[in-house]
């Protein structure tokens, strides 16, 4: 680790869980879902992430269990590879390099060595031209294999995996695109094309959106833009095909799935209601409403116990077959726009940002899990196009996290602005925030910034909040005790209103010790004394609208930094009240590290964003990272690490105590990592026991319980005999042997001796003879039965040559002798003792 490791930009979780249909393991114990470049394995019972399968270098677009081995998983990605995983252990088994961008992946139980993928059309750059091809997977022992044997199945189809489905036993494949349904029959090698008219007189919109095939019958279900579902039958006839229509959805049908036996069809869409249609009948339908947001994908588990829906708000809901929600796996909720920016909750170190509409989400980046949702707006969200919703726009935490300030707004027209500021107090007892004060219209115009004064550590300091508004004012709010004799209550009220030439206030921030407040008004930065609220000084050069403003920290607390919209980064010295230095840099985001003097600035050039990390006392940045991403960086935040990391490289020392996260325009949350790829890709040490993955069917429960009881009874009878088996199981060698996947084990001949050794009973444990004796004694009854069996076999063997017969009679003789012996032994000789 002495060698300089390059700083790499990595996706750091929070990536989309709903990119592709999720898959269940055969026993429905695990849910597998594509998440960014990874495949995540979740436990359906605990909602915990068990494994992360890492290896793809681009978005994973499709996952499917290996039909030949249900412990294995295929995944395909835009990076052009198909990977085969052992998902119970999180091990990559094989990589097949196809060489085209793969958009969807299908396997069939019938075809062992070939799989189906959707790839872009050859030699064509047009974005909407795709083809379904079958890929022959070569059978070679190598880890990485080139799979170049492609054969075209269907041409000119849709890109989405939802638009293609394989029918009963792989007899046919159906694909929809635009207004056409294509069905390709593998046996006859024939394509049937069924067109629909674009619109009808009744205003139908017949464009196809998705397709699903009945697993047992020849029936294709297709979803349409106007919310209709059509069930196609008889489609092997060009003319005499027929369809029936199911209609409940009022908007686009997003996905369709049949249950395992095909008795029910599931559909979902923007209504966020899962509809279950029984027997393909319009009249027999059941609903699971209020699932939160638009259903994007639906899948059913192979054993029929669960369904799962993935939603646009990055959520996967696992649903019992009786349509009750069993578990929810919530990822980072990504709306269209993060208005609140990235904020850190000082208490939990969680990332806080806009969640569901009107909610604030607390997201733990270490575990890549949502901690909780705080309903800020507290209004029912109604999905309707063109409806203006109340939006959460600003969030700020006090230094210790005991206060939370939120601003929500709703803008019906230009002139009508509804603003509301809410202050929340952290309640230790309920471990959540409770609403303390609600302030209607804190400013006449948009609130541009708000910040708390970090006075929590000071005993006397009252909590203070400053808001800046476009109406040219900044307001200071303080917590006042307005409790009377009956009721103790604390509330926030306005303490001071400041303005500067009625310019709109754009930014505000407190110095580290809370003694100074800097507020920027258009091109001017004003500095105020926070005790008396007097204007101390102003900075206004170089000219340019102030976009970001922050104070230096720790040893650099005498500096104030600001960026302007004409591309300058300025650093003012507060002692001399003069410009210390300025640099020409088009800074988009300026973010100070709360634990050090470091300040990160992300600048944007014509294309690509660059990161600069510097200390305010030096105009020269100590870390420059060019081209961290192609898009514009919207927000960045330093999140303190729980344990400071030791980083060898001097240059990357700034990452040791806190981690810099940033959010791009495309809502990708990225971070920096100094670790090499190999390090990140080491398989997780978690091991799963083999027997755990046997399916727990009701049948098993019934029989298995009985057997278990029997066994335990036997064990009780056997008493010490159990010791032997325990012994064997306890041995680490056997454990290792049994619990390690077969393909990573050394050869059997090598293991044999270890295995045999482990089975032997060590002498010092107990006298072996005693144990064996007792075993025989108690299992006598069983042996009697087997004797009968033996006799039967003897009868059959009578025809055999006599030499065999002799042998058998010999054994029989010995048996009878043995029996006699045993009988004698069992006799009660206690009377001897009495003598």
């Amino acid at each position: 680790m002495v060698a300089q490791q390059p700083l790499r930009v990595v996706r750091c979780g929070g990536s989309k869980l709903s990119g592709a249909r999720a898959a269940f393991s055969a026993d429905a114990k695990y849910l597998l879902c594509a998440s960014g470049d990874y495949v995540k394995v979740y436990s359906t019972a605990t909602e915990e992430c068990v494994h992360i399968l890492q290896g793809h270098t681009n978005l994973v677009t499709g996952i499917q269990l290996n039909p030949q081995n249900h412990m294995q998983l295929y995944s395909c990605s835009l990076d052009g590879t198909i990977k085969l995983w052992d998902f119970t252990d999180g091990i990559l088994i094989k990589t097949f390099v196809v060489g085209y961008k793969l958009f969807a992946f299908y396997t069939l139980a019938g075809s062992e060595d070939s799989v189906f993928v959707i790839i872009p059309k050859k030699n064509e750059d047009s974005l909407d031209s795709f083809q379904l091809v079958s890929v022959k997977l070569p059978k070679t022992p190598d880890q990485e294999v080139e799979a170049k044997e492609l054969s075209l199945i269907l041409d000119d189809i849709g890109q989405s995996p939802k638009c293609t489905a394989f029918g009963r036993e792989g007899e046919y494949v159906a694909s929809v695109r635009g207004l056409h349904l294509l069905v390709y029959f593998f046996k006859k090698k024939k394509v049937n094309r069924f067109p629909l008219s674009a619109t009808s007189r009744k205003g139908a919109n017949n464009y196809f959106t998705c397709v699903a095939c009945h697993p047992k019958e020849d029936c294709i279900a297709s979803g349409h833009k106007d919310g209709k579902i059509r069930l196609w039958r008889n489609f092997n006839h060009k003319r005499e095909y027929t369809f029936s229509t199911l209609h409940w959805h009022h908007d686009v049908v997003m996905d369709l799935a049949f249950s395992v036996e095909g008795t029910s069809l599931l559909s979902g869409g923007v209504e966020s209601v899962l509809v279950q249609w029984r027997d393909g009948s319009d009249c027999k339908k059941e609903f699971l409403p209020r699932l939160g947001s638009t259903i994007e994908h639906i899948s059913a588990s192979p054993d029929g116990t669960f369904y799962c829906t993935s939603h646009t708000e990055n959520k996967i809901t696992i649903i019992n077959s009786n349509l009750s929600v069993s578990a929810v796996i919530q990822g980072l909720v990504k709306g269209s726009d993060v208005k609140t920016g990235l904020v850190v909750d000082p208490r939990t170190k969680a990332l806080v940002l806009n969640g569901k509409p009107g909610h604030l989400q607390f997201y733990c980046l270490q575990t890549d899990k949502q901690l909780y949702n705080l309903d800020i707006v507290q209004q029912e969200y109604i999905h309707q196009i063109g409806l203006n919703q109340v939006d959460l726009v600003k969030v700020a935490f006090s230094a210790q996290g005991s206060w939370l300030a939120t601003v929500e707004q709703r803008e019906e027209k230009e002139t009508e602005l509804e603003l509301q500021m809410k202050l929340w107090n952290y309640d230790e007892q309920t471990q959540s925030f409770t609403l303390n004060t609600r302030i209607n219209n804190p400013h006449e115009d948009h609130v541009t910034a708000l910040c708390f004064r970090d006075t929590d550590e000071l005993e006397d300091g009252t909590p203070t909040l400053v808001t800046a508004g476009n109406d040219g004012r900044f307001k200071v709010w303080v917590l006042v005790d307005d409790s009377d004799s009956e009721k103790r209550s604390m509330g926030w009220s306005c303490d001071f209103v400041g303005s500067y030439h009625n310019y709109p206030a754009t930014n505000c921030c407190f110095s580290e010790d809370g003694s100074l407040l800097a507020v920027s008004f258009e091109e001017t930065v004003t500095v105020w004394n926070s005790d008396t609220w007097d204007l101390i000084c102003t900075f206004c050069h170089p000219p340019g609208r102030i976009q970001n403003l922050c104070f230096g920290r720790l040893s650099c607390s005498k500096y104030l930094l600001g960026t302007t919209d004409n591309g300058f980064l300025c650093c003012w010295n507060l002692l001399s009240c003069a410009l210390e230095w300025s640099a020409q840099l088009n800074v988009m985001v300026l973010q100070p590290d709360p634990l050090s003097e470091n300040i990160a600035a992300v600048s944007r050039l014509s294309e690509g964003s660059d990161l600069f990390v510097f200390k305010p006392n030096e105009p020269r940045p100590f870390c420059i990272q060019r081209n961290v991403c192609r898009e514009r960086v919207q927000w960045a935040v330093f999140i303190p690490k729980d344990v400071p990391e030791s980083i060898g490289s001097e240059k990357h020392q700034w990452l040791s105590r806190s981690q810099l996260y940033f959010l791009t325009e495309t809502q990708d949350l990225l971070t920096f990592s100094t670790k090499s790829t190999e390090e990140r890709l080491t398989p997780s040490s978690k091991q799963l026991a083999v027997e755990e993955s046997l399916p727990m069917t009701p049948f098993y429960l019934l029989l298995g319980k009985h057997r278990h009881q029997q066994r335990s009874k036997e064990n009780a009878d056997l008493g010490t005999a159990v010791v032997q088996s325990h012994l064997a199981q306890d041995s680490p060698a056997i454990k290792e042997l049994l619990h390690t996947p077969a393909h990573v084990l050394p050869s059997a001949s090598f293991l044999c001796s270890i295995f045999i050794n482990s089975m032997l009973i060590s002498k010092e444990n107990k006298s072996a003879g005693e144990v064996v004796d007792e075993v025989e004694m108690d299992s006598e009854k069983a042996e009697d039965e087997s004797d009968e069996d033996l006799e039967l076999t003897e009868m059959e063997q009578d025809i055999n040559p006599t030499e065999f017969l002799g042998e058998i009679t010999q054994t029989k003789l010995s048996k009878s002798q043995e029996k006699q012996l045993r009988k004698i032994r069992r006799m009660d000789y206690s009377w001897v003792a009495a003598l």
Partner: protein
């Protein structure tokens, strides 16, 4: 100045009666249809769904069930308790027989066509034997409680499935015992209804019984075990009727919400014998209850209380675009209900039980082409003539001068002399109408109003002399040489009074010379129904339209098709013209333009200009609006013989 003055007649308030039941005969490809007023119509599928025959209604007759036996005999039964056979040649009821079981709700013929099963109000199922010239009561099956709403024979003829209130029964025909009694659930998805009327049943050859009931479900039962196989909730209201295709792979049901659904027997997997019934296509063409459905080989046919007969082709069964592929909706009869006295400006409207005489409005101003002229005299209702007796009017006519009105019911011909004297109207009935005329199927006055032509049975046309001041006498009876048995239903007389053309039910057109009162010639036979006839006033050419949309012109003096007609046949008519779904019901001529023939059907009005070239399939048939935008010169180049107007607003243009 426009070419015509167009009267907009909005005072003919004819309300067609609702359709009560239909019966489809696959063998003769005909559909019999009974309306709520007792009228019966027969549509011929082979002749492009033309309404071939009509039997006028009767006040006391209400037909609840119709059935064909042996392909061409038609029986009807109704709530009057009578079973009647219809005479389709003479277009009247042949005989009636009391079923002695109270009102009859259902009737079905056995597969061999030798027996009729009748379901009665008193709960009995009676069997009648079909003899060559009558039917005879044979026996009654075991009488059970509850009226018999529906019944269906098993294709083997040994079992009958009977639908009653809350119950389904299966009878063994031989023993007459009920061998199965199945209770039908009154409930559908938790909703209870007071009773469950099994409106319709069908017995399939594999022993499955299909039932539709008032709760709104279609159910499939195993007749051997009496168990329910499948339930399909179709509607929240009653499912009134169902029909099975001949191959038994498709069922059509009609609901009281006006929707029609198709069920198809589809294989669950290819190549496996297992198949199931799937509700596939919903159609909503009716506004009211669908009381009757039928399933032909290529189409679903439904008739409702909104008086519409809808023929919805099954696109997968018809090949190519053509007559069969069009959706047809018949509301009005394919018969003439309006007659016009050209000289007097009078219109006679025919209603089932009365006639109305109106005087057309008039204007004294003139305008440009397309102008709406102010009405100086509003149209005037002059007379309402009620027919006596329970029988409905089957045809009527007014003479060109407006002084004679004739109408006929099934049993009587009535003749009236009308006197119009400066505003006052008086009617005098002609009492002594010759008795030999038992019924008339079509009436026509000669151009000079001196004789009345009465179309009658067996191809005969009676000529009556109209005598002033109010009398008549039988002059002659014209009979065709061929000895046809079918009734004449279309007549056309020449303006000069020399010729009379008559078309009968066997589609034969005879031309008679009125000078000699003998057959002049017969138009060469054409294998399709005649929908309209007219003789040109100048050239004496007979113009004939057929239900397959062909137009012929036959020169009576030369006894051959005219050269124009031959040219039309050689060239072929435009595809768009041939694919129209309605028959031409009327032909007229423009006296100023001898080359023009005026044609119309329910949806369009067409001026056929013989002087212009015939259109090719490539040129659009309806080009009137596009022609209007062209210059005068270009218009002449693009014009073709068919000038079609679908919007009656601008008909005169």
């Amino acid at each position: 100045m426009g070419e015509f003055q167009v009267h907009r007649v909005r005072f003919f308030a004819y309300v067609p009666a609702g359709i009560r039941c239909v019966a489809h005969s696959p063998r003769s490809a005909r559909l019999a249809l009974a309306r709520t007023d007792g009228a019966l119509e027969v549509y011929n599928f082979a002749a492009n769904y033309f309404q071939e025959k009509g039997i006028p209604g009767h006040e006391t007759r209400s037909t609840e069930a119709l059935c064909w036996t042996a392909g061409d005999r038609l029986f009807g039964a109704g709530l009057g308790g009578d079973i009647s056979e219809y005479d389709l040649e003479k277009l009247r009821v042949k005989y009636s027989l009391d079923g002695f079981g109270g009102p009859i709700w259902s009737m079905a013929a056995d597969p061999s066509g030798t027996q009729l099963a009748v379901g009665c109000e008193d709960g009995s199922v009676k069997l009648f034997q079909v003899l060559p010239d009558k039917i005879q009561f044979e026996r009654s099956l075991d009488r059970q409680k509850g009226r018999v709403m529906s019944l269906s024979w098993h294709p083997s003829g040994t079992r009958i499935a009977v639908g009653s209130i809350d119950l389904l029964r299966v009878f063994d025909v031989k023993s007459g015992h009920a061998i199965q009694r199945i209770l039908v659930d009154r409930r559908l998805q938790g909703l209870y209804s007071r009773e469950c009327v099994v409106w319709s049943v069908a017995f399939l050859s594999n022993g499955t019984i299909v039932s539709s009931d008032s709760v709104g479900k279609v159910q499939f039962w195993d007749s051997e075990k009496g168990t329910l196989l499948e339930t399909h909730p179709v509607s929240s209201s009653a499912v009134l009727c169902l029909a099975v295709s001949e191959e038994e792979d498709s069922i059509v049901v009609g609901t009281s919400e006006g929707a029609v659904y198709q069920f198809q027997l589809l294989p669950v997997k290819w190549g496996s014998a297992e198949s199931k019934w799937v509700r596939t296509k919903p159609f909503q063409h009716h506004t009211h209850d669908v009381r009757a459905v039928a399933h032909s080989a290529t189409a679903l046919i439904s008739g409702g209380l909104d008086a519409q007969l809808v023929i919805r082709p099954l696109m997968e069964k018809v090949h190519g675009k053509g007559y069969d592929a069009a959706l047809r909706k018949f509301t009005f009869p394919h018969r003439r209900l309006v007659s016009c006295a050209k000289k007097a400006g009078l219109l006679l409207f025919q209603f089932p039980q009365h006639l109305e005489l109106w005087r057309l409005g008039a204007t004294n101003s003139a305008g440009k082409d397309g102008d709406i002229l102010p009405v100086s005299r509003a149209p005037e209702h002059l007379l309402q003539l009620k027919s006596k007796g329970p029988e409905h009017i089957c045809c009527s006519c007014i003479s060109l001068c407006g002084s004679w009105i004739a109408y006929s019911t099934a049993s009587r011909l009535h003749l009236h002399r009308v006197h119009l004297e400066n505003g006052s109207v008086s009617v005098k009935r002609v009492s002594k109408v010759p008795k030999l005329l038992c019924s008339a199927h079509q009436l026509l006055c000669s151009a000079d109003s001196t004789s009345l032509f009465v179309a009658s049975d067996q191809g005969a046309v009676h000529v009556l002399k109209l005598l002033e001041p109010g009398g008549c006498g039988h002059l002659q009876t014209l009979r065709p040489n061929s000895g046809s048995t079918e009734a004449v239903y279309l007549l056309a007389a020449s303006a000069d009074g020399d010729w009379l053309a008559a078309a009968g039910g066997d589609w034969e057109i005879n031309v008679y010379s009125l000078r000699h009162f003998k057959p002049h010639c017969t138009v060469p036979a054409y294998n399709c129904a005649v929908t309209a006839l007219a003789i040109h006033p100048v050239t004496n050419n007979l113009v004939i339209t057929h239900s397959d949309q062909q137009v012929f012109e036959f020169s009576i003096p030369d006894r051959e098709y005219t050269t124009w007609s031959r040219k039309v046949q050689q060239h072929g008519l435009h595809k768009g013209w041939l694919e129209r779904d309605m028959p031409i019901t009327h032909i007229a001529f423009n006296p100023k333009q001898p080359t023009h023939i005026l044609l119309h059907d329910t949806h369009m009005f067409c001026i056929l200009d013989k002087s212009l070239p015939l259109p090719d399939d490539a040129t659009p048939l309806m080009n009137q609006t596009s022609l209007k935008q062209l210059s005068e010169k270009a218009r002449r180049g693009h014009a073709h013989a068919f000038k079609i107007c679908k919007k009656y607003q601008g008909l005169g243009q």
